[in-house]
Subunit: 512 residues, 2 copies
C-alpha cells in the first residue's frame, strides 16, 4: 500500500475531554462512602443490582422523535449487522447501542424484562458510573457516579417514608452528624389540590409549576408578581406573569409558605390551603401518614420534616417528593459563607415500565449526588484516613533484597501496610524522596553494619520533614527522627512509631 | 412532518446481545471477593486506580494500521466536532472514542500522562469492567470484570517475586486453601538462552514458541515431532515441522521437562539446558533470585514454584512469567473429573509507555480472571452467605403500617436485616410467597388480637417450607414452625430463630 511508509506520530497520553482518572485515596474514600451507604440500603432489604453499562438506544428511549438517530446527549454507536466480522467500530448497520446516562432507565428495562421473576415489590439499589455526551466544563464531567435506591411495585406511601428514613440513616452512616442534615418532604398532590381549589386551568398549571420553581430565587413577592401580572427583573426587563387573579395566587403562596413550627402545624396550614379539593386532601393525608411512619421509625422532625417549600422535582414526580440538604455552612469560591445545600433528591413516579409493557407500575426512589456528598465529607474533614501510605523498607544492599522482602512480609503479617523500594537503590536520597511521595510514615533502614549487629533503623518521616524545614514543635522534639531497634522488635516498634505519628498529627490538627 | 402519525412500537426490554445484568447475592459475592483481593494488594503498598471507561482510540492504540478506523474488536464511536451542539451520537467528525478493552492500555496512558507526578516505581491495582466488541457465545460476554495489579518502573525481579507472593496471598484471602492452588513460574530469558544454545535462528524462534505452546495438548513426543519433521494429527492430516535437527530440539525439550523434585533440582536442570548462553544464565539467575525471595517472604514451594512447563504467555512477556492454577478437581459439563486450572496469569513486559514517550519502562503485573475465580469459589461452596434474605414484617392491618415499620426499625437497630411488606396486603398468602422469594429466614406477624395481647408471631420460613413438603427431619421437628413471643423480646427472639435456622442449615449441609 502507498501509505506503508507513513510514520505514525506518537499518540497523546490524555483522557478524552471531560473524562478523568481517580487515584489512590480518592478511590478508597469514594468506595468507603458507597460501602457505608450500601450497608444501610442492604439492612433495609434492598438488593444490589448491577446492569451492563451498554443498553440498546431503543431500551433507553433515547431515539430522537421521528428520526432513526439517537439523542445527542448519549454516547451511542451502531453495531455491525454481524458483529465481529467486518472491520471498524462505530459505523455498522445493526442496532444502535449507547452507554447508560442514568441508573433509572436500566432499572425500568430490568423491571420489565424480569417482571415474572423479581419479587414484587422490588427494592433495589445501584451504584456506578453513568455517561453524558455533554459539553464538559469546570466540575462537569462526562462520566460520573450515581447512587440510587428505588422500590418498584408499591403504591403505599410506606415505601416513600421508608426511603426518607433510609436516606437520613445513610447520611449519618457516612459521617454527617444529626443536625447537619435535613430531609425535607413535600407532595405533588397537595399542589395539584391547591391548583384545583384555586380554579387554575390545566394550561396555566404548567406555568405555575415553572414559576414556583423560582421561589428560592425570587422569594414570596417575586412569585406573587410572576403568578399574576408579571415583574421587572434586575436588568429592567419585563417578565410576563401567568395571569392568575390575586385570589387564585393566594392559595399557591399559602402552600409555598405553609411551613409551621412542626409537622402538625404545617399539616393544618396545608389542609387550609387545599380548601375542598379531594386531590389536595389526599396529598395532605399522605404527608400525615409519612410523618406518623417516620416518627414510628424513630426519625424525628429534626431529621426529616414536611416542608412545602421543596419545589424541585414537583413537576416530574407524581406524589411525595423529598430532598436531603446539608445545613452546615462552608465557604464558597469567593470566601463567603453559605449552606452546603442539597445532596440527594427523589420522589414517587409511575411511568417506569409503562413504555415497555403498557402497564403503569408505581415506584419511588432516591438518588444521592456522589460527588457532592464526597465534597461535603471533605469540607467537614471526614474524607478518610490521612496516613494511608505504606511503610517503605529501603534497600542499602541490593544483594540482600530477600532480607528486605522478609522484613516487609513480617510487617504485613503484623497488619502494617509495607513495601520494599523497588527502584534503582544506588542513590539513597531518591529512596527517601520516594517514601515521602508515597506518604510513608516510617522508612526501615538496614545496612551491612546494622545487619551484622542484628538491628534496624526506623526513620520517622514526618518528623524528618519537620526538622528539614527547621520547624520546632515540643511534641516533635521529644522524639528523635530515627531510632535503632533490635531486629526481632521490628514490627512492634514500627507499630509504636506509627501510633506516635498519628497522635502527633491529631495533636497538631487540634492546635491549628 | 409526514411521520408525525407513526405509532412508536413498544421497545424491547432486553440487554444488548452479549451483555448481562447481575443481581443481589451475585453482586455481593463478587464485591466481597474483589474487596478481599484489594485488601491484600493494598497491604503490599499497591494503590487503587480507577480510570475512565472511555479512552481515545489513539491512546488505546486501536486504530487499524494505515486506515483511520478503529479496530473492530473495540466499541468505538466518533465525537461531534463540537460536542453537544448538533444532534445524533455516533456520527461525528471529531475524535474517535472507545470503551477500554482491558486495564493495561489505560495504565500505559496513565503512566505516560502522569509520569512526572506518580511515584516511581508505581504500584497500582485496578478492578472494573472492560468491553470487547466480539461475537458473544456461551460464557463469552462483551462486558466483564478484570482485576489487575502491576508495578511500573522497576527492572528488579524483586517486583516479580512480590507479585507472585501477593497472588498466593490473594487466593488464600478469598478462601482457596493452601494446597488447592499453585503459582507456577517460568522465565522467557531461559527459553531464549536455550534457543541460543541450540543455535535456532530468529526466524525459527517464532515457530518454536508457537510449537511449545502446544506442549499441554500434544505432550513431549508431539512437540519433538513438531520441532523437527512434523507429525500426523488425529484426523490424519500432516502438520509440518519447524525443521530443527534432533540435536537442536533436544535442549528445547530438556527445558520443557526440566521440572525437578524441588526448585534446586529444577534450577540445576535449567542450567544444563541453557548451556553456555549468557541470556539463558541470566534467566536462570533471575529464577534463582525469585525462589530465594519467595522463601524469604515465607512463600514455600507448595505455594509458588519454578516450573518450566509454563509456556502460556512466553511469547508475549520478556522475563519472568507466572500462572496461578487451582489444583483441586471439579466435574466438567460431561460429569468427568478435571483440574479446575488457571485463574490468573502475568509476567514482565517492557513496552508499556514506549508508544507514548519513546522510552522503555520496565513493568510487571498479574491479572486475575474474576469470573473464573468466582466460579471456583462457588464450586468449592465458598460463594458466600446463603441466608442473606431480610426478615419480612407482614402487614395484617394496613392502618397499622407505622407499627410494622417500627418493628422493622427495631430489628435493624439490633443488626438484623429487615423490611416491611409493601405490596397490597389483602392476600396474606401472597405476603408469605413474597417472603419465600426474598429468601427471608423469618416472617413477623401481628394481627389485632396479637397487638392487643402485646405479642408477635415469628414464623420460621425454611421450616414451614419443609413441613409443606412433608419432609421430616429430627433437627427441624424439634422446633415449631411458628412461635409467639412477647413484643418486647421481638429482636432477641428473631435473632435466636435466625441462629437456629443457620445451625440447622449447616447440619443438613454436613449430612449431604
Amino acid at each position: 500500500m502507498a501509505k506503508d511508509q507513513k510514520k505514525q506520530p506518537r499518540p497523546k497520553a490524555e483522557t478524552p475531554k471531560g473524562f478523568r482518572d481517580t487515584f489512590g485515596a480518592d478511590v478508597t474514600e469514594r468506595k468507603a462512602m458507597l460501602d457505608r451507604i450500601a450497608g444501610v440500603y442492604h439492612s433495609h432489604g434492598f438488593d444490589p443490582l448491577e446492569t451492563s453499562a451498554v443498553e440498546t438506544v431503543e431500551a433507553l428511549g433515547k431515539f430522537l422523535p421521528d428520526v432513526d438517530r439517537p439523542n445527542a446527549g448519549v454516547f451511542a454507536w451502531q453495531e455491525e449487522a454481524v458483529p465481529g466480522i467486518s472491520g471498524g467500530g462505530g459505523g455498522g448497520s445493526g442496532d444502535w447501542l449507547a452507554l447508560r446516562y442514568d441508573l433509572t432507565a436500566p432499572l425500568a428495562r430490568v423491571a420489565a424484562q424480569y417482571r415474572n421473576d423479581l419479587p414484587s415489590p422490588y427494592r433495589r439499589f445501584a451504584m456506578g458510573p453513568v455517561w453524558r455526551n455533554e459539553k464538559p466544563g469546570p466540575g462537569r464531567f462526562r462520566q460520573f457516579y450515581q447512587c440510587d435506591a428505588d422500590t418498584v411495585g408499591s403504591a403505599s406511601v410506606a415505601a416513600d417514608a421508608e426511603i426518607c428514613a433510609m436516606l437520613a440513616e445513610a447520611l449519618e452512616a457516612v459521617g454527617i452528624a444529626r443536625g447537619d442534615y435535613l430531609v425535607r418532604i413535600n407532595n405533588r398532590k397537595v399542589l395539584n389540590g391547591v391548583l384545583e381549589a384555586a380554579d387554575v386551568s390545566a394550561d396555566q398549571a404548567e406555568d405555575v409549576l415553572r414559576t414556583i420553581d423560582k421561589f428560592d430565587k425570587v422569594g414570596r413577592d417575586g412569585v406573587l408578581a410572576l403568578l399574576t401580572t408579571g415583574r421587572r427583573d434586575d436588568s429592567g426587563a419585563q417578565i410576563d406573569g401567568v395571569g392568575l387573579s390575586p385570589d387564585q395566587a393566594a392559595p399557591v403562596l399559602a402552600f409555598l409558605t405553609s411551613k409551621g413550627a412542626d409537622n402538625a402545624a404545617t399539616l393544618a396550614n396545608l389542609r387550609a390551603a387545599v380548601g375542598g379539593s379531594d386531590m389536595g386532601a389526599e396529598g395532605v393525608d399522605e404527608l400525615a401518614q409519612m410523618a406518623a411512619m417516620l416518627a414510628a421509625m424513630g426519625v424525628a422532625e429534626d431529621r426529616a420534616v414536611i416542608d412545602p417549600s421543596v419545589v424541585r422535582g414537583l413537576g416530574y414526580y407524581t406524589g411525595p417528593v423529598f430532598e436531603a440538604e446539608l445545613t452546615f455552612e462552608i465557604l464558597d469560591d469567593k470566601g463567603r459563607k453559605r449552606q452546603f445545600g442539597s445532596v440527594a433528591g427523589g420522589g414517587r413516579y409511575d411511568g417506569l415500565v409503562e413504555r415497555f409493557t403498557g402497564q403503569k407500575v408505581p415506584a419511588t426512589g432516591v438518588s444521592i449526588g456522589v460527588d457532592r456528598l464526597l465534597a461535603a465529607l471533605r469540607a467537614k474533614g471526614l474524607g478518610g484516613d490521612a496516613a494511608t501510605g505504606p511503610v517503605v523498607v529501603t534497600v542499602m544492599d541490593r544483594d540482600r533484597m530477600a532480607d528486605y522482602q522478609a522484613m516487609a512480609a513480617e510487617l504485613r503479617a503484623a497488619g502494617i501496610r509495607a513495601e520494599v523500594y523497588l527502584g534503582n537503590p544506588k542513590n539513597f536520597g531518591n529512596q527517601l524522596k520516594y517514601a515521602d511521595k508515597r506518604g510513608a510514615p516510617v522508612a526501615i533502614i538496614q545496612g551491612a553494619d546494622e545487619a551484622a549487629r542484628g538491628v534496624v533503623l526506623l526513620k520517622n518521616l514526618p518528623k524528618g520533614a519537620m526538622l528539614a524545614k527547621n520547624m520546632s514543635h515540643d511534641e516533635w522534639a521529644q522524639q528523635p527522627a530515627q531510632i535503632e531497634v533490635a531486629q526481632e522488635r521490628l514490627a512492634e516498634m514500627t507499630q509504636a512509631m506509627i501510633r506516635q505519628i498519628s497522635l502527633s498529627n491529631s495533636y497538631i490538627a487540634k492546635e491549628d
